[in-house]
């Protein structure tokens, strides 16, 4: 379970791009953007300029990883051709990210795959812009990068008061032996998950291959969340994160 606190360091930042964990090749990241334009509303009769918020900017600048051409999982293999669609950054608290740890997630258009040198090491750099209308990239890890071989109800997460503005969720299947799985997210107003819960999201990916998927939805998200990995066969590693949209 997550270890909340003032303990989030670069050492335990993990990044999942489509169906790959690129953390072993990752070298640097710039800003994970979450800001709104300042729209100035100052009138002549006012002394101090005052503002409200305009459009939001979501995206990641300057993600750099080593040139690794290992098939399927190497950073160059994943990042070349600027084809990444689903990105999740997970912040571990003094350890590998766990269920409940903060996450920054987005559906993205990868804007570049420039190659250069970092201390004589070849690296590839990407910028990610937001692809969809989900209004908030700040979320929470619901299923960490842990291999499972049985149906798993991940730990329940108290994600704060219920909200009414919809949600977005990312799935990264980063390891699979070809078995079949179902991936869902449930929510509950009590956190009991004793039959009162409802399904919030159902991913189409079945875990039989490396994959990624982003789902979005409207309406209410209850206070408590959990991911459920339902096994038909095999072993899988599936990272799931969710963010709640905000009113603005």
């Amino acid at each position: 379970m997550a270890n909340p606190g003032k303990n989030k360091t670069l050492r335990y930042l993990r990044v999942f791009c489509d169906g790959a964990n690129l953390s072993g090749d990752a070298r640097a990241v710039g800003t994970l953007k979450n800001s709104c334009d300042a729209v100035e509303l100052t009138g002549w009769g006012e002394s101090i300029k005052n503002s409200t918020w305009g459009w939001r900017t979501i995206g990641v600048d300057g993600f750099a990883a080593l040139i690794n051409d290992t098939a399927v999982s190497g950073a160059l293999t994943v990042m070349q051709d600027s084809g990444i669609d689903v990105v999740t950054f997970a912040f571990g608290g003094g350890d590998e990210p766990e269920t409940g740890d903060p996450a920054y997630l987005m559906g993205t258009t990868q804007l570049q795959d420039m190659v250069g040198w970092d201390g004589q090491a070849g690296n590839v750099t990407a910028n990610f812009d937001s692809l969809d209308e989900a209004s908030n990239p700040i979320g929470v890890v619901l299923s960490p990068a842990t291999s499972v071989s049985a149906t798993t109800n991940c730990d329940s997460v108290d994600n704060g008061a219920s909200s009414a503005y919809g949600w977005a969720a990312n799935l990264h299947v980063i390891a699979s032996d070809g078995g079949t799985w179902a991936f869902t997210i449930e929510h509950s107003s009590t956190g009991a998950f004793a039959g009162e819960e409802a399904t919030l999201a159902t991913f189409a990916a079945d875990g039989s291959a490396i994959a990624s998927e982003r789902q979005t939805g409207t309406g209410t998200v209850e206070e408590y969340l959990r991911a459920v990995l339902t096994r038909t066969s095999g072993t899988v590693t599936a990272v799931i994160a969710l963010s709640r949209n905000t009113a603005a």
Partner: protein
Amino acid sequence: MAGKNKVERYFRISFDDSSGNPRDLSADLVPGSVKAGGVVWDSVDMLGVSDSVRHSLWGWGSSPVEAKFFLNDTATTGAHTVLKSAPYAGTLTAQWGGGAAPTTGDPEWEGEYVLLAADISFDGGRAVINAKFEPYGSTPPAWGTVS
């Protein structure tokens, strides 16, 4: 205590969470990162061609606040927990203690601000939130004292 004794160690900053509850964020404030308090007035150039010395009048004032906070996800009070709901408006209060934590009579800058940005970056290996605030509404922030 009044005097030439206002040091960063005894600076405190709080901002409302998205439900309007004031939250002291000082324990998560990265040292040296905060810019808060006071106004910068636009300089409106009044120079005429035949004047010899440039001179100005004041225009509108600006009073942005910037600060970096640790990405602390402690429930209710951690800076990440408080600020992740950006954008929203609330009361921002900055206080300067004189040789001790701020107490009655110490300088205070307070007003309604909108949290426009909560970008995340890494500073010295630490995950930090780069918060940017601008004054919000027609009542300007102002100097006062801790009550």
